[in-house]
Amino acid sequence: MNNVLTIAFYSLRRSFWIILGWGIPLMLLGIITIPFYDLVAENEKQLRPVLNTLKPLLKSFIGGDEAEQVFTPEGFIALRYFAFLPVVMGIFGSVYGSGLLAGDEEKGILDFLMAHPISRAQMFWGRLVAFFISLTFIIGLGWLGLWLGVLKAESMIFSPLKLILPYISVFAVTWLFACLSLAFSMVMPSRSAAAMFSGIIVLAGYIITTLSKAIKGLEAWALFSPITYFQGNAMVGLELDLLMKLLIASSLFIFFARRGFGSRDIRVAGDGGWKIPLLDPR
């Protein structure tokens, strides 16, 4: 346990600039975006007819049948602020998760660290705990920005606790993509390949979930998209079963990643890489 904490705190210190680099823009996004609700509320009469004339496919990209909720404070936050966050944070989770172990492994740093009296399990959990804490800080900064934005908007009154509900869902989606990417990085030959595949799932999931609101045939596929389980409108009530589904899937990916890391060789710098027959010059 002692070593897990040592690894976690050291990794957390290394993540300082990542936390600021992602947390501050997320905070600014809230501060800048949310006060625009005042303008939307003022111009509801002009905007509503425009919304009604949109074709279903186009409308699906701004919330589908729920698009009209943009005129309510909760709906505005869900559609204008949280709609894109799972993609942005999913990409962040994919990049961070793939590098959690494979990043240092490819740099050759892990080889040296693992020569010390720590087990692979301790290294794995130490890094994962550090990511959990880093993500909490980033989400915390995002939530702070959202709250400051709400304070700035004249026609919005929300308690800070209510604002945290959709962020719990953002956390769960980001966590899931990080765990997925971590699991990929344990079986794929390089960190970038793991991040790329996880990133493809983020984007494909977003497109499928969004289009499924207009195209009925995609509804079944949308069940496999993690974005479907995201609750940007959680301020009106967080559905625990959707949250649990994300967390259970994340736990499964953690299980596979842990098994992968425990049983395979630790690579050194330069190991791995794609070998595509015919294209590989070697």
Partner: protein, 307 residues
């Protein structure tokens, strides 16, 4: 069996492959407790793979390996606790300071005050500033950090992969002194090197690895002494009967004669006395006679490699 009687490293028929490439082809190795063991071989021979198997960073395909009687695959933490390791290519977190990295490594070893004092002492001997950022360090200074990390906890077994690589000659001497001091305090040192002269100067025993197989292992001094003498002579005049006379000597072989018949390369397996007496009958312009050093023995196994 007490720890003292156990071999520091024991490997039997150790096999490790990377895909279709077999890096270790059944290595048998026994390193005694308290000795300095040199591990020689060029890049890609399998030295680093063997060391990484010892620390359970990579998993063997088959065979056995034990560090003081412990299987690294089963008791990896206990094995690593006994070892100090310096990798061949040391990579570190570039944004950290020397001090923070060493403190981190010390905490991973649950090292206390003694460990901290050792860090300060070693840094002073190696002339390394603890306040520097890793990214500002030269290759040699990074190597010094690796050496401190390997030695700081007075390990029972030191696994050093090219320990003097990138260091200036003065620091190389300090490192060899540290190796000798570690041996005096009872540690076992297993180190690989390209610098054969340094292996010859400190190693009690050496092993030569070629293409994943151990091709020679033995006490350094006897490895050198059992090798034949090599003589190079330039005679004052040509004499066709001379070659037959030399070849008639027991355990003596003419390896090469120059076109003009005056310069001879000769190999002598046993005593040189009869050879000296034999050539005394002729006019000699030049005579050079010596035993091969470790480098020549090493190169004799790597003729193909070098060509």
């Amino acid at each position: 069996m007490s720890d003292q009687n156990l071999p520091a490293i024991y490997a039997k028929d150790l096999i490790k492959s990377y895909g279709s490439f077999r890096a270790l082809k059944g290595i048998d190795l026994q390193v005694h407790s308290g000795e300095i063991f040199g591990f020689l071989g060029p890049n890609g021979a399998g030295k680093t793979t063997a060391i990484r198997c010892m620390l359970d960073m990579i998993r063997r395909d088959s065979g056995a390996i034990e560090i003081f009687g412990k299987d690294p695959q089963i008791e990896s933490v206990a094995v690593r606790d006994l070892c100090g390791y310096l990798p061949g290519e040391l990579r570190l977190d570039e944004n950290a300071s020397v001090k923070s990295v060493l403190n981190y490594l010390r905490r991973l070893r649950q090292g206390g005050k003694d460990c901290s004092e050792n860090i300060l002492q070693l840094a002073s001997r190696l002339d390394l500033s603890l306040e520097s950022k890793i990214k500002n360090l030269s290759k040699g200074n990074k190597q010094k950090l690796g050496i401190i990390a390997a030695f700081m906890h007075n390990p029972k077994l030191l696994l050093l992969d090219e320990p003097t690589s990138g260091l200036d000659p003065l620091v190389q001497q300090t490192v060899l002194e540290l190796v000798k001091e570690a041996k005096q305090s009872g540690a076992t040192i297993f180190f690989s090197s390209h610098v054969l002269a340094e292996v010859q100067s400190v190693a009690d025993r050496v092993a030569i690895i070629k293409n994943g197989e151990i091709v020679e292992v033995g006490v350094t001094s006897s490895l050198l002494s059992k090798r034949s003498w090599r003589a190079k002579i330039k005679f004052g005049s040509d004499d066709s009967g001379r070659k037959a006379m030399i070849e008639a000597l027991k355990d003596t072989k003419v390896l090469k004669v120059s076109d003009d018949g005056r310069i001879y390369d000769i190999g002598i397996e046993g005593d040189v006395d009869s050879f000296i007496k034999c050539i005394a009958a002729f006019e000699v312009d030049y005579l050079e006679i010596n035993k091969p050093n470790l480098e020549e023995i090493f190169l004799s196994y790597y003729g193909d490699y070098n060509s």
